[in-house]
């Protein structure tokens, strides 16, 4: 992660995005309900929540594609609540679905997007060629966009979002619905942009992705921000918690209750039919637990230590199971 100058409560000397009491209703549904947050200059800020939480609506309001019903948006000192177009020259937007022109080639799409920001022809061509190379799309540059795979489409959409070199980038679910290799490449590109100083506002419903990429994360559920803190602070309460995941065979029924009675110093939680989690603030001695299973006629096939993760905090704060979020868009590839 990039070193930051900690100068205020959010850790950044300069706030680039300030949002206050932002609200948006669709008919009688409160899509976004009085949310407030800041994003510092050069920060990678994550907006984590399930589908329908209000992530895209928030991005749309920040970028000028939707009008807030109330609240205040300030981007780089410009009042975007009054004039949504005020900061559009400073921002790049990568939407959750690719929105480039299907009938144009990758190269022409990039040049066209650059022209929207008033970039000269020579410079457009140079930047488009460079981005195609950076995104491993050189060979596909002269192919029409509608012949691209999902991963290639997403990469070109990101390239189109940064061709005018915006200091602020909005990424809406950048790795949803694409293959593992492409998702990994895109995360690498996001990290590179962040390390180069781009302020990034990223929405995702992948907890691991948010934890891996972001410095600070806001959990958004039903239009409300329920938690907003740095990843380090969010994990703090469970930082010293030790967790083991035990996988076993040949044991009918649920051993959770028996284990909790036999080992009161640990907390056992049944994960699935043949997996159980052990939590403890102290070091977990695995020998006695394995012997317990053997006495029950079962066999422990694996005991794996798990590092404390954001997932537990997210589940605790929001009450939403992480697996449910992963399966929302039928992929969950990371």
């Amino acid at each position: 992660m990039q070193a930051s100058a900690f100068a205020n409560k959010d850790g950044y000397s300069e706030q680039l995005i300030t949002v206050s009491d932002l609200t948006k209703n669709f008919d009688n549904v409160k899509a976004v309900n009085k949310i407030s947050f800041n994003v510092g200059k050069g920060e990678l800020f994550g907006f984590l929540g399930p589908n329908g939480a209000g992530k895209t609506t928030t991005i749309n309001m920040l970028t000028g594609l939707a009008r807030p019903d109330s609240g205040w948006i300030n981007i780089a000192g410009l009042n975007c609540s009054k004039n949504p177009k005020a900061a559009q020259h400073l921002i790049g937007v990568v939407p959750d679905e690719s929105n480039l022109y299907p009938e144009l080639t990758g190269f022409v799409n990039l040049c066209f997007c650059a022209s929207l920001y008033g970039i000269s022809k020579k410079e457009r061509i140079s930047r488009a060629e460079q981005l195609l190379a950076d995104f491993n799309l050189e060979k596909a540059g002269n192919r029409k966009f509608n012949t691209y795979s999902k991963g290639m489409k997403r990469k070109l959409t990101i390239a189109a979002g940064i061709i005018h070199r915006p200091p602020i980038l909005f990424l809406d679910e950048p790795t949803t619905g694409i293959d593992v290799a492409s998702a990994r490449h895109i995360r690498g590109l996001i990290s590179k942009l962040f390390n180069e100083g781009t302020t990034i506002f990223l929405t995702t419903h992948y907890i691991e992705e948010a934890e891996r990429l972001c410095e600070r994360i806001a959990f958004i559920v039903n239009g409300h921000i329920v938690k907003n803190d740095t990843v380090a602070n969010l994990i703090q309460p469970i930082k010293n918690l030790k967790t083991l995941l035990i996988t076993y065979t040949n044991l009918a029924g649920n051993p959770e209750e028996k284990l909790n009675k036999a080992f009161p110093e640990f907390e056992f939680l049944q994960e699935s039919n043949n997996q159980i989690k052990v939590h403890s603030e102290k070091t977990i001695s695995i020998g006695p637990v394995i012997r317990f299973f053997e006495e029950q006629g079962a066999e422990v096939t694996e005991a794996r230590q798990l590092n404390p993760s954001l997932e537990e905090i997210f589940v605790e704060v929001t009450g939403i199971e992480a697996d449910a979020m992963k399966n929302e868009k039928n992929d969950g590839k990371l």
């Binding site: 594609l65 559009q88 020259h89 921002i91 480039l100 299907p102 144009l104 022209s115 008033g118 970039i119």
Partner: protein
């Protein structure tokens, strides 16, 4: 300067991607010419009538040339979300919509001269007041395009835009004095002619091509300009209301 680079490139992109494609050529060129042929066959008129028919053919060429592709350049792009890319660009909505309609206006102007070329060989065009015809063609192209724009931004599906366009276009063939004088229409239909912008454009063309017109030329231009402003204003209002939610 930066906004004009965007303006030019949006217009050129639309022209390359849409206006020179076969469906548009068929709607913009073949249909008006077929309609004219049908008129000659049905009325049994000879070539001496060509000069009287020319204003109607020019107007219909512009009308179909301009309105046929706006359902694609606007409604389809909105539907597949590529229009969002334009809305995110640091270009004012007014300039953005002028660039989106600029291609249609140019195509309409070019289209208008397609029937003029054969007419030049078939009849005497020496009495035509070209200095009035040219701005009239431009104004008809602008008002027809803005009518198409108004329709395109009032609906959300491409088929709705096409159906809605025809709802206006086909009655205009009969009601705007293209081939039949407005005065010959049934009394109850005549007022309808005067709320349609094409009536005023065709009146200028009739006046400057063969000398017969209803209103003074300047009134026609004034009313056409009014229609342009109103249609463009309400189109922008619809985009604000329905597309920037």
């Amino acid at each position: 300067m930066k906004q004009w680079i965007a303006f030019k490139n949006i217009m050129l992109k639309d022209m390359r991607s849409y206006y020179l494609k076969p469906p548009n050529v068929s709607w913009g060129l073949v249909f008006p010419l077929a309609w004219t042929a049908m008129f000659f066959v049905r009325t049994g008129s000879g070539l001496e009538k060509a000069i009287e028919v020319l204003p109607g053919v020019v107007a219909i060429s512009i009308l179909f040339g301009t309105t046929s592709m706006l359902a694609v350049t606007i409604t389809f792009e909105k539907k597949n979300r590529s229009f969002e890319r334009l809305l995110l660009a640091p270009v004012s909505l007014e300039l953005l919509m002028l660039s989106k309609t600029g291609g249609a206006i140019l195509f309409g102007v070019v289209n208008s001269f397609v029937p003029v070329v054969p007419a030049a060989f078939l009849t005497d065009l020496t009495q035509v007041e070209w200095l009035t015809v040219l701005p009239a063609v431009a104004m008809i192209a602008v008002v027809s395009t803005f009518l198409g724009l108004f329709i395109a931004v009032s609906v959300s599906e491409v088929f709705e835009a096409q159906t809605f366009s025809n709802f206006f276009r086909f009655p205009m063939i009969f009601l705007c004095g293209l081939f039949f004088p407005v005065a010959d229409l049934p009394v109850f239909l005549e007022p309808l002619s005067y709320v349609l912008p094409l009536t005023y454009g065709v009146d200028i063309l009739h006046g400057s091509i063969h000398g017969q017109h209803i209103f003074p030329i300047w009134i026609n231009f004034f009313i056409l300009a009014g229609f342009c402003i109103i249609l463009f204003y309400f189109s922008l209002k619809n985009i604000h209301r329905k597309w920037i939610l």
